[in-house]
Assembly symmetry: C2
Homo-oligomer: 354 residues x 2
Amino acid sequence: MAADIDVTLQGGRTTHVLFVDTIRELSSRLSDYGQRVLWVFDVNSARLFTSLPENNVILPSGEKFKSWSSIEKILSAALDAHLGRDSLFIGFGGGVVCDMTAFAASVFMRGCGLVLVPTTLLCMVDASIGGKSAIDFHGGKNLVGTFYPARDVLISPSCLRTLPESEYMSGLGEVIKHAFLSSAHDLYDFLVDNRKDVLSRDRQALSTMLSLSLQVKASYIERDPEERKGIRQALNLGHTFAHALESIEDFRVKHGTAVAWGLSRAMHCGQDAGVTDSALVEAADSLLTMYGYDIARRIERGRWLDFQSAVAKDKKNISGRVRFVLLEDWGRPVLKDLPAQLVQRNVIAPATVR
Amino acid sequence: MAADIDVTLQGGRTTHVLFVDTIRELSSRLSDYGQRVLWVFDVNSARLFTSLPENNVILPSGEKFKSWSSIEKILSAALDAHLGRDSLFIGFGGGVVCDMTAFAASVFMRGCGLVLVPTTLLCMVDASIGGKSAIDFHGGKNLVGTFYPARDVLISPSCLRTLPESEYMSGLGEVIKHAFLSSAHDLYDFLVDNRKDVLSRDRQALSTMLSLSLQVKASYIERDPEERKGIRQALNLGHTFAHALESIEDFRVKHGTAVAWGLSRAMHCGQDAGVTDSALVEAADSLLTMYGYDIARRIERGRWLDFQSAVAKDKKNISGRVRFVLLEDWGRPVLKDLPAQLVQRNVIAPATVR
């Protein structure tokens, strides 16, 4: 099993990332948290338990329930269970459950304890680490939230054995993004050398991959916990493209799959802008292709305005400017404005001759 | 005018408390914040402006609107004005407006800028400093919120000239509480020596009193910004009694007035428990009486169970125990459980012989 990782964030708050080998070990760890606990599931993650712990809330599943009304359910359940600031919320599920449990914990009596147990690959490598809590608001993704790192994040690769293939591949998109954000090539090399074990979800391979991926993410968030220095934004590599794609496709594309596509687009735009060299672009395209991502995908010409307006709405726009994350080299991200025409020619299908 | 005060809270975040002399100077300072600003008023504070600044929200006035629906109004207005994380919310009003503006700012895109302009004495000496944001939830006061210190707090004693008498006396209750939380007697001596100027709201007297009072509050919150060490709780001196009184009187008693009564009850309970010496109890009773507070008030015998249950619901109860703030000496608070009978004989009217 991988070694535990500590991630220290704002105000010295530390998240302990603990790897647990089996579901049995996970249960035993969880029971150590005692009685003053509220469990938050969604209908999917609740099914992983044969009998649910006493104080629990089961939320409906899906992005459209990532709203204040779900937060109210969590807070009401905590009050009904007579919990106070000294108690603990345990979020057990994917990104939506973890983001909302974290938000609820951050505002319940101005902050109670928080433990996250991510059950999807995407949540293990992304949402559960770094303290971003959120709900959607007025159609905007994650527009409302807090920075509130979990005390512990319990990661059990065993949870991934039963994850649907499309969910697993979505998570891998974020892992591949991390491979390019590290100046060490170790995660990239590992993914190239262990394709079969990674895709068959071999336990040892998962464990190594999770650990390498989390170390990359941790290195960015520790230097810029509240995303105020332009460092943490690097983790959004590929995301401006991805969010716009998700938006115009009404979220039928999974997030990490959109990120994989967005990563490739960011590389090509970077090359076009004279920022990224061709060897790096080729390394990305080759890894993405090797893992089966559709990097040839383009947006139809007629949807360019929709795409452009989705880009402009992206939360990362500051004072009306949209800044893209590009790569100067392995692990050397830069934030840059890009001319609309440059973006257009890299995401839109070329006009075809009839 | 009093010197400005800096209060440094969690993660090194500093609140600058700026004293401004005239309403004109206040307006000029406020216009320096530029254009990417959302103003939050309630119907009362909005009346202080002849023409309102462009991006504004006007909330209904009163505790019963201290809810998520008001927060949604603020957040929607911010989105309508195309504001982002780099923008600023300015809360202009009493405690309810300031608490809610702070909460909205703390969750808008995971935290935007915050400036508070308290217009009541209670808010100047209490709510605006220390970073506690809040809304009420399921009938419980301030059950949901965050710690999010304002960048600047602009205090203009001129705002207090037109404050209704009952509001002014409510604020003075908290000021008097601060006088006993300081081991230096300076605020106490000032209140004793300047009763007439304080009550007539002489500008120089207000300025000195505000400054002394804020320094006491700052000394507690700087040592325990998130109320986790049992230090900041001292500021709740008198509050467990006050909240229970407010609750059984359906909030017809103003908060600071209830705190003044609660302070006297805490002193007498402390004496009864062998913690507080009689000279200190007399000093409190004498100052409170000098300023016209009804310290002889008692709860009717028939309401004891209601009072007791309101005490038990007080947010400060940890693991089911209610801890009272008592004073061992000037500026030497302790947290203590008190036997129900001891509390009862100090708050309930004695049985009368028919």
